[in-house]
């Protein structure tokens, strides 16, 4: 029960489902396809109830043919549809990488602007449910490497509710990373929430001492770390990248020029990652604004192990963020 009438309390899952529903209602050209999205209700129950509401033409169960149905989604987009293709988890996306990298990403350029691919590909991602190495990938850097794609990371409920809708209006292929670990998390969003900008990063918390730059599952962790640091007198600015390609370099530079320090946090492996890229951009553009070396907290470079304590130790946790920032300020 919501206290204020213009605010609603939703889970991350519910926010995504609302977005899919709104998209299906708004545009006849939109349909959802993917493994178990219909009769099963979605592997993570995101699309539960939608088959009953929209019918099998709009909610299409697919066989286990990632390359086939992702490619079909791309083809349908070429044919004028606005498909939402769900890849059950990011871990299976490599089976469709040929379609995404060789077709979706190249066609507009390779055809001299003749062929648009307005497809949206959603992938469930994230680490933290003891799923071991093959089901715990953070492939954001991999997709963010590819020109022609737009890569979004859904780090908040507001974005879960809004990003999909804007992505469907985009004439180019958009990859949406969603985070399984956040599905049950509740948060308040404005009840009128809907389509939202997908070109800019967003400062989730204003601060003047250090820029804590992150995305996806890192955003809430960062905000909690920032709250803890505030009580220690460190005023942390939390920058949610949101768009991993093309990067909002202006937002990063603006924050660093204010705080003069940066810590980048991500679950993905450290080498050749989003944080490597951000760090390089800061060096290229904001070097003379830096009052301390850029620091990073990334996933440990191991295949993610099964036991809980090892899994937890493989990715940055709130306490590590707090102590990393404390260390930056404690050196006297």
């Amino acid at each position: 029960m919501s206290a204020t009438p213009n605010v609603m309390r939703v889970t991350y899952r519910e926010a995504i489902r609302q977005a899919i529903r709104e998209a299906l209602m708004k545009d006849e050209r939109t349909f959802l396809m993917g493994e178990d999205v219909g009769r099963y209700g979605g592997a993570f129950a995101v699309s539960k109830g939608l088959l009953e509401e929209f019918g099998p033409e709009r909610i299409m169960d697919t066989p286990l043919s990632e390359s086939g149905f992702v490619g079909a989604g791309i083809g349908a987009a070429m044919g004028g549809m606005r498909p939402i293709v769900e890849v059950m988890t990011v871990n299976f996306s490599l089976l469709a990488l040929d379609q995404i990298a060789n077709n979706a990403a190249t066609l507009l350029h390779m055809t001299g602007g003749q062929v648009n691919v307005p497809v949206v590909i959603r992938m469930s991602s994230g680490i933290g449910r003891q799923l071991a190495a093959q089901h715990s990938h953070s492939w954001e850097p991999l997709f963010a490497h590819i020109p022609g794609l737009k890569v979004l990371s859904v780090g908040t409920h507001e974005d879960a509710r809004g990003m999909l809708l804007t992505a469907l209006l985009d004439p180019d292929p958009v990859i949406l990373f969603e985070y399984t670990s956040m599905l049950n998390l509740e948060a308040e969003i404005p009840s009128g929430s809907g389509a939202i900008d997908i070109t800019r990063a967003k400062v989730r918390r204003q601060g003047k001492d250090i820029s804590l730059i992150t995305y996806g599952a890192g955003v809430y962790k960062a905000l909690e770390a920032a709250a803890e640091l505030a009580s220690a007198g460190i005023d942390t600015e939390v920058v949610d990248l949101r768009v991993l390609r093309p990067l909002d370099e202006d937002a990063i530079a603006a924050s660093v020029s204010k705080t003069h320090r940066a810590l980048i946090v991500e679950d993905a492996w450290r080498s050749v990652s989003i944080s490597s890229e951000i760090s390089a951009r800061i060096m290229e553009r904001s070097f003379y604004d830096l009052d301390a070396p850029v620091r990073r907290l990334c996933g440990l470079e191991v295949p993610i192990p099964y036991p809980k304590h090892l899994e937890d130790a493989s990715i940055p946790q709130q306490q590590q963020i707090v102590s990393a920032i404390r260390n930056i300020f404690q050196h006297d």
Binding site: R29, F31, E57, M60, T62, P63, S65, S67, G68, F69, V70, G71, A72, G73, I74, G75, A76, A77, M78, G79, G80, M81, P83, D98, Q99, N102, N103, L108, H109, M110, T111, G112, G113, Q114, V115, N116, P147, G148, K150, D170, P171, D172, P246
Partner: protein, 332 residues
Amino acid sequence: MQQEVLNNKDIAVTREQGKRLLHQMILIRRFEEKAAELYTKGKIRGFLHLYIGEEAVAVGVMNALTPEDNVLCTYREHGQALARGVDPGAIMAEMYGKQEGCSHGRGGSMHLFDTKSRFYGGNAIVAGHLPLAVGLALSDKKMKRNRITCCFFGEGAAAEGEFHEAMNLAALWKVPLLFVCENNQYAMGTAIRYTHAVTDLEKRGPGYGITTASADGMDAIAMLTAATHAADQVRKTGLPYFLVCNTYRFRAHSMFDAELYREKSEVEEWKKRDPIMLLSAFLKDKKFLMDTDLKEEESLVETQVQNAVAFAEAGTWEPLETLTKFVYSEKE
């Protein structure tokens, strides 16, 4: 859903039809011979895969389609593009890399695209375009457009997972898609007997519940007959159809190929059934063609090819300033 046995005499070919097929085949032959020459002079670079020997397939199938239908091809697609009616000058300019090319010079020989004639490439990842074809056909079905999609691929692609995924999806989703397999006996340099356990590819279709037929890919009339029947079936039922065309590539796989994998005598044997020779004989036999007509055709084609080369030569290079254009759509 089973294999159909087709009869050449199913179709009554008119004089005009016959002469159009012949004209297109001679155009393809001379155009490609010119392309090979220009390649050796360095005017054309990259990969150049010639279609010579297989012309009957392209002209037979293209003449069974309407201008509204979608066409997707492999990287050996000059023949299909010419038969589809893409301007020879724009094709040659594309091979030169000039911005007047049909893909703005961005694609080259392997990526001829022309959305005006619904010609969707020019796809250079073997079997990568099969899922796209499924998607295009799916969009037509969903949008209730009276259109079929025709997808060419080689027998090499039939070994790829995407072939199997696409066949299954097309049959499962009941989309109007004509699969045209050009079995030219070699996947690059490896004969079909070394790449497929079952070399009768027409046995694959029924396994997916797709009606299948095979045709003599050296005989333009047989191809026209088979393709017309196949396209009609797809149009009538809205279901996929699998047409296997047995043919032969007279020239090397690409320009840089020593042809170590086949005997000269085998090539000579197939050349005895040169598709242009066969069609000329057929038309002469029908009294549709005189020797003087043939000479006239040749000189007409020569002019067309010369004009295409002149157009390409006169074409311009894309300025570096627009290099990054079309990575993403421009805002309107």
